[in-house]
Symmetry: D3
Subunit: 340 residues, 6 copies
């Protein structure tokens, strides 16, 4: 059983029920999520040995974050306990022409204030095959970026495959800062994951002639982006997700994989969305799993897209699907017929 380590922040997610707006809510659904934590849960659900590393306060709100991961079998034994708060994000689910809205309240979280001494990467990486992080983590602060750098260097040393989802967040840092920090980290990355806009935001690498709000996707442009990324950083694989937003309820979803030689485009799914948060993370998890299973490139991208397509039908950040369920969809049965 392959072992994957991820590192990042897990936040308390507070979301009004159904389609209520923030100003209408007097209860919040309370779950946990975060880019790397979402990958860890998804991998645990696929049956891998999956460890998530972060720092969380000792109090019960921190404990509930740990529990949310343990529940699905994630190894939480290297989560450091301390610091003063759990990062929070408020999520209002959009509908039709009304977009979803996210309000972050994550400054001062335990992980954002963590120091290098908190983490012993030699111990953390024992027996690990793969290390994954996203661009959100180094954006939490210079201290965290340093921890990331130490982690990827250590992973490289140990021959652990490193993947990174660029995941640019403009509320956390500027494009310039992102480009500089991520540029350094990407030197140690083997597999790069990005959405339609990340490469442009972080590294100024853009797909020509594509307008993400127009519903048009430009295949040639994305090939070009992937090739530039691979050329600049020496990535062995680059995967780019391609979302077309028809409305807050309906999106198209596909992806492309570049393995340094060829380009592989997945099927394109029309999705009725239950919850789109974590869509990209579930793609990352699907990609890591299928790579670790040594699938063929076309299978890899189909598995990753099918996994994340299913995520969009599931409430919460975490992707609660099994390998069988993903394989069935990737294999072509998208009819949604009831299983008795």
């Amino acid at each position: 059983m392959s072992k994957v380590v991820t590192f990042g922040e897990i936040m308390l997610r507070l979301a009004p029920e159904g389609y209520y707006r923030f100003v209408q809510a007097d209860t919040y659904g309370a779950t946990y999520g975060g880019g790397e934590a979402n990958v860890s849960v998804s991998l645990a659900n696929f049956g891998l040995d999956s460890k998530f590393v972060t720092k969380l306060p000792k109090h019960e709100i921190g404990q509930a974050g740990v529990n949310s991961l343990r529940k699905f079998g994630v190894d939480t034994s290297d989560i450091v306990r301390g610091g003063s708060r759990v990062g929070i994000y408020f999520l209002e689910k959009g509908a039709s022409q009304r977009p979803s809205k996210v309000i972050y309240d994550r400054a001062g979280s335990s992980i954002a204030e963590a120091v290098k001494e908190d983490f012993d990467w030699d111990k953390i990486f024992e027996g690990a095959d793969w290390f994954h992080f996203t661009g959100i983590t180094p954006a939490l602060g210079d201290n965290v970026a340093e921890i990331c750098l130490e982690a990827v260097k250590k992973a490289k040393e140990k021959g652990i495959t490193v993947s990174c989802d660029l995941n640019y967040r403009n509320k956390l840092w500027s494009k310039e800062k992102a480009g500089q920090v991520m540029g350094e980290l990407c030197k140690y990355v083997d597999v790069c994951i990005a959405n339609e806009e990340d490469a442009g935001d972080v590294f100024g690498i853009k797909a020509a002639n594509t307008d993400v709000t127009s519903g048009q996707v430009n295949h040639e442009g994305y090939k070009d982006v992937a090739k530039q990324l691979a050329d600049r950083f020496g990535f062995k694989k680059v995967a780019i997700t391609l979302r077309t937003s028809i409305s807050a309820n309906d999106n198209k979803w596909a992806a492309m994989l570049y393995d340094g030689t060829d380009f592989y485009f997945s099927k394109n799914y029309l999705m009725h969305i239950v919850d789109r948060v974590g869509g990209g993370d579930s793609f990352g998890a699907g990609l890591i799993y299928s790579c670790l299973q040594n699938m063929e490139p076309q299978q890899i991208i189909e598995f990753a897209v099918a996994a994340s397509c299913l995520k969009h039908s599931i409430e919460g950040d975490f992707n609660m699907v099994t390998v069988d369920e993903v394989s069935k969809l990737a294999g072509g049965d998208a009819s949604g017929r009831v299983q008795r």
Copy 2:
């Protein structure tokens, strides 16, 4: 007022709220349902004198099953109380590419352990015009199949019309066993109801060139199936429902009626699904009602399909619609405009 008797199992249905998966649920909606019970409630909602016969334990979980039927005016006076458990089914509602999932926990239920002596069909059938059962009931066990046989024979004796929905369930019995038992029971059946696959599963009678997952329906093939069924068992009427699954949220729904002479196809509805369970049962109820009202064949099939189309917009197994509502839709107003 016509009087209809149905016989079968009513189960406790436990379903996570909304689109939550089983592993996310910490509350279950608790309702009751089952093939024949669903028909009985629907008929009571249409204003008929509707009786449901089964066996349920004496305890409160059994009582709640009785109450769920009484609430809608079903005559429960011939429900036998005893045995040890209520059958249960767990339902997870699918969305988009993720199919709904059903987990049965029905072994050992009171009705599955019932004996012939539990039921006095002479008394039960007093004043009855119609008797309905489905292929699920005899599948519960040889004892229950025997009770069914006794019931249909007695119904025949008394000149009561008998209808049967083939309703094949592969978790309950093999195709071979089903073919053998249902073949015997069908000798006493006047009106046969089936979905696209039942005739093939139970009797090996298949519509040529149709793939239920492809979204393609083959009219000629279904005509052939209906004719073969009628020819083999002497059914006076055969009705076949035609579902096309676009996604877990969107289905097309239509049906065909064969009256031994002609074939009548209904309108085809594109449905946004609220709850698809009980869809077929609501069709059966619509068919029984419209036959008892002596509607014309085209009206019969339009009424039955409209009734079950509306069912898909209603939570739970039971179809909560009035004759007026069905007639309005069958009559052509499918716009869903608000009624003030």
Copy 3:
């Protein structure tokens, strides 16, 4: 900051959760709403000084109605307290082919039994720029119609712009009575708002060749209706909303503005509906706001339609959107992409 006064009834709205039918409900969501109250809340959310005038009982159910308005900043200082009950309406949300259903229980409400002496329009209109009411209010009784007449006369005297949404309700009065009373009131109205059917129901002015259940909208016909309305009553502006009902879940939504010279048609939105109640009222609020901002006619109609398009994605009668949100949609971004 412009100041707008509206006058009418605010009712307790009792609605089963989700898509449950009335006979399945054992809890009701309890919110408040009513044609003019909905306009007032929407205007307060747009940042205007917005006052709502009505009569409500002194008890807590009346108080909760006041609170529901204060919460969003509506000025409730001229709401008269007294009388015996709050009007109620029961709302069952439709889905797919099943229409929504409204049951009114509003007879005998405090406002329906109000007398002229209850309201001091000189005081109420202090500093006001605009007065709005709908055809529902005078339909509550001759006493209320008289109060309306007094209000519009006083508004006219003071140079306050008067708008009226015809809003015909056949459960409240006959077409004949409506035509007579509204005909008198419309003499004092500057801006007239109507849906596809109101002009015909109230004044017998119909758009030729249009069938509201067919999904077909006839542009020329509506031009003709608007022109006839303006000619008969001297309205400075006439706005007509154009709804096409595909199903209870999916509607198209657009509108037309006539400024006495030209006709301006808005974009046509395809909406997945969360809650369609208050759709017309949110259009009225959008229109009043954009007129008060002195927008150009095409901008006015786009703002009003975008505002009400967003309303359909929001639970409850009230439109909870900001000017920024409406402007963004009116400006062309209808993709519903998440905002982080």
Copy 4:
């Protein structure tokens, strides 16, 4: 199996969840209840043939009222359908020093507007052994008082035992009016039920030296009240409930029975209250049941008090207890130990 008929109003009860105040509620639990309906449900739960007679509108809110009774096996076949509204009462549950609060909104209900021709008492009373009503019903209006009078006369004629719970409601009528109307009706009553204050409010018959807010109950005083009542109207039995309110959560509960000869006092229970509404009605049902079972006087009063003691532990107006459960408590086991 004895058959009992009751006649009165069933209202929609809207209550905020838990201990929320009206001004905090945005959902209401929606159940049904009313003095006589509560008795009917309780008797059906005891296994009697129990019929409830009223008038309810044809719409779904009326239908849901019918269903709420059918669910528990009450015979609703003589409920007249028509009129315009269902009476409503809003209930806010008190706690500690804060009392529960009831807001009635029942004017204009179908039963309050019913006419004599609506009810065919010969048909209604077929096979009946007992007729029960409360002082609330004639208080709904002179028309309803007349219907009551017709009913009790007819019952008398047919030798049906008549019971009446005085149940004085000062929001419905004055003490003078109540005394006059109830005085006439009581001539036909065999069994009179009252609480500590009813006899004083309706007939001016008071227990000396008792202050209901003080927690003191005066046994001798109640004996005197019962005797006066029996003497004045010729009641065969008079039962008086004795509630001591310690706080909104804690009450003491006992009762006294006078059979024309002797006085029987029940045990006195200290109750933690879940829901006190319907407490008196459940006492009435217990009394009717135990009388019909020909229990001894002491057993009668113990059964009635135990039944209503249990009611206080149950949500809603209806008493959901079996004869076994009541007998167990009446027999002395009040420990509340879990039953596995």
Copy 5:
């Protein structure tokens, strides 16, 4: 109508439903509260002109805080909008021997980062009769303590009565720091409110021989504390609340008022607690109201204690009671009998 201004923090309160522990919760009730905001809402519910001053972010979570106050009629026109976050507190309700638990997450809130320039006290105090704050507000930071000092000085200048609830929070500052800052502020205070421990924690003034966990209250000791406080700071009135904690569900509640001459002890209530948070604040509001109404000292303390006794029966921080309800309890009716 008297006008009262309060100044402080309003936090988002997140509390698991019922008695669930934090680690069991997956929904949080989301309300708002804070020492001074609670006083403001209570005073608005008493019918006073009540203004709350704070700083809240511009986003929807901040807006919802404003709305929570407007809903009950609090004047929010001087709330400054800006800064980055709303303070949060997590509340787990205790039961029996298990205490309630509060986890604060308030660092970095908009008010905690506010500057003197944010508030224009001349404008804020226009027409004001009373200014109230608590010891929590200056504890938020030196900047906020300075703002408080400016406010009390300005109030003094304008002849506005100033009250202060000492409200010591050991998670916000040390006893030494509290003593120093509060000592300075108290020079401008007219009415001082404290619980059993505050005077000791902040100023080292202790009631001899009292152990708050023992259930014993020492009247003489509290007299001494009040006198020392008044003597040291020149308070015109000192009020001390006296809580005896029997269990998390049951507390005794009383208070003492010292007017510089005499000591007045209130009745002592035994309370079944629904929600104890805001108990002290509701006492403060009762005290301010009764002082402004010029009640007699004994009436003042009875009114304040009765108001806060009722608060313990109400969910949330805010006291939702009217003057009538408080007066009824203060007047002696503590039976909690239902009000129909």
Copy 6:
């Protein structure tokens, strides 16, 4: 860190919300619990290395059972997956004089049908210090009793301390059968736990002169019972819990420990009950923990009783308390004062 293994059944617990009766419920809270699983979770919450062993089906309802344990850190790696169903119990919470009610539906569960080959006790017991089971497990069937016997023998061999909670369930087996099977198993037990009635039910050993429904507890009698148990089976320790049921809401709770020499009685707590299920199990966990910490006998019994006292304030079967919380209560602070 000590390691404790428990073995038994974990069931799906379905309970109506709040105090609703079964016949009123249309949602069930869905949690998991069972005698030994409850002990395992409690021990994990105390920070021990805690493993639970059982058999559960492969489907999602079985998986959710596993997840419910993992969430709190229980080691589930030796749970065998297979078989056909999860045992279920329905729980209706009692109030006041109305007792709680449990309906079991556990026949045919995976663990009840397990075979000896399913469990490899050598592997399971690796590194274990303590093994715990209850009398429920062998009662599931002769096959399970045999597995228990194998386990206790293996534990004995390995020098692992064995504890057993007698936990007699009369719905699972007769007293005779229980006595015989438990008599054999008890030979291998070191620490015996029982409630007031178990010793009598299983072994015919009774405390003289004690009536569990009377509220009287007889200290001398329990001493005698403990001594007889220890004498007959050679137990090193015997602990007996002493519950006095005042009502379904209020119980007294204490316990006694016999260490072969002396008798230690704990404090006696008066508890307001939130959820009494699992009370005994939480006592067992407290006892195991305090024994493993080598506490003194009086401390052991105080810790165990305080732990289980707190359990009664927590929803669900599992005891969610930390060592600190238990120690605080055991140390004497039972005031339930809020912790800020």
